[in-house]
């Protein structure tokens, strides 16, 4: 009988002890944020969605070789004589394959970097085709995608954040 009551007493005190920890936390301000309305800004050097600048790229193929998932493709531009020049004709990144590992940015020899991670962590896609982003001279800066059904370049619908947070690291 005494054992029975001591068990009840022990469990009761333990619950009070645990509750005191909970109660202390309750008085402190909340550590969470209300996500869609409040947003946290990532730290400098965050590995978000990749961005590309066709103006500075010298199409050296180093990022293509550095990529562990082979998600980057590019083609050299040519001059009137048909010779390859150090400019990029088109450049695609397949975000369906991208590992977000920053090996491409590290290997890029240009200053500032031609391919770099933005701070954007909200990348969403409606279609698989949208995941393959194309950059080309004459197009707007934001990457367009090639719609395989309509056989034309289209503006992405799913993801709109990519150009709002730009940052180019220098290291």
């Amino acid at each position: 009988m005494g054992n029975y009551f001591s068990t009840i007493f022990g469990a009761f005190t333990a619950i009070l002890k645990g509750m005191s920890v909970t109660f202390k936390t309750m008085l402190k301000p909340a550590t969470t944020v209300q996500y869609p309305t409040e947003k946290l800004v990532p730290y400098e050097g965050y590995r978000g969605a990749l961005l590309f600048d066709a103006d500075t790229c010298i199409s050296c193929n180093l990022c293509v070789k550095a990529c562990p998932s082979f998600c980057i493709q590019l083609e050299n531009a040519t001059n009137e004589a048909g010779k390859k020049i150090a400019k990029v004709k088109w450049y695609t990144i397949d975000f369906g394959k991208c590992n977000f590992c920053r090996l491409c940015e590290e290997s890029c020899p240009t200053k500032p970097k031609s391919v770099w991670h933005s701070l954007d962590y909200e990348i969403t896609f409606f279609k698989r085709d949208e995941m393959v982003r194309c950059w080309q001279k004459g197009f707007e800066f934001i990457g367009k995608y090639f719609d395989r059904e309509a056989k034309e370049f289209k503006k992405p619908e799913g993801q709109v954040q990519i150009q709002t947070t730009q940052q180019r690291c220098q290291y």
Binding site: A11, R47, A66, C101, Y171
Partner: protein
Amino acid sequence: MTETAADNKPKLKSDQMFINLGPQHPSTHGVLRIGLTIEGEIIVNAVPDVGYLHRGTEKLAEIRGYHHCVVLSDRWDYLNAMGNNMVFCMAAEKLMGVEVPERAQQLRVLMLELNRIASHLLFFGTYGIDIGAFTAFLHAFREREMVLDLFEMVCGARMTYNYIRLGGVMKELPKEWLDRCREFVPFFKKRLAEYDDLLSFNPIFLDRTKTVGAVGGKEALAWGWSGPNLRASGVPYDMRKFQPYSSYEKFDFEIPVGKDGSCWDRYYCRVREMHESLKIVEQVLGGLPEGPILGKGVAKVPKAPPGETYAAIEGARGDLGIHLVSDGNMSPYRLHVKAPSFINLQILQEMLVGQKISDVVAILGSIDIVLGEVDR
């Protein structure tokens, strides 16, 4: 659907029943399936069935360069990705004969221990949920968030770090990083004391775990257990002490050992390990040497001389080893991961027999497996 070992059930007697636990079950921490034969509520046969998360990273490594393999290694044990990076880099450095500078070695130790804390915190939280205590989970994740913030500052990612590279580390610490880390250590010490009030010595929690799933030291060694699981069974074996790597011999820490290897011992062994990891973090922060962070002699496309090597570290879940064979080309000829989760999991078929079905989740949670590492 192909037939697996778990499907190959023996002829059931009239009072027996076959049930599936998983693959989609919140308490299996991933996609693990266990074929259970029960008699009333006592388990008479249990067959774990793995392979639902197989991505073939060992094969993928055979057509990729050594720098690329570090990225692949993040995906094995995604809760302890620093350890995976570390063990692959150690094996490749051994093969290539690359010296790692002193500062890089200590930075590696710092990151490994912080990652161990993050991994054990996730165990602490999810084990609480398995048993039925939800508050502990929220508390643990608040602290884990601080560790992940530190990682985000230094390498830009929160889970797949890719921070430890061949010959050193990826990047120098940011300016305010050390101060943030120094703030974290005393904060976390206070929290660890709270955890004991919250969960560790709660009599309801003790009743559910103290008498369940006892594994003796001999049995644990026979099944090839390692890490906190083995130490909880009373065998004080720790790679960091007995085969020090990356300047672990300079730091002073203890090996927490359990008594009878019950679920509670395995749980508390990990909680105490967080104390020890914190000790190491404090020591590293006290005397971080200056110097380069990347060793010399690592090419952009490195080639390893022909040969084979084995490197092992004390991961968060046990001895994590890499067997690396090279034929002199740009990519490894063969890469094999000795994954502690996979080996720790095997004992389930013996351990679960004779237990009640309500204790399955308690036992499964206490082994702390990560299915990404089991299936690779």
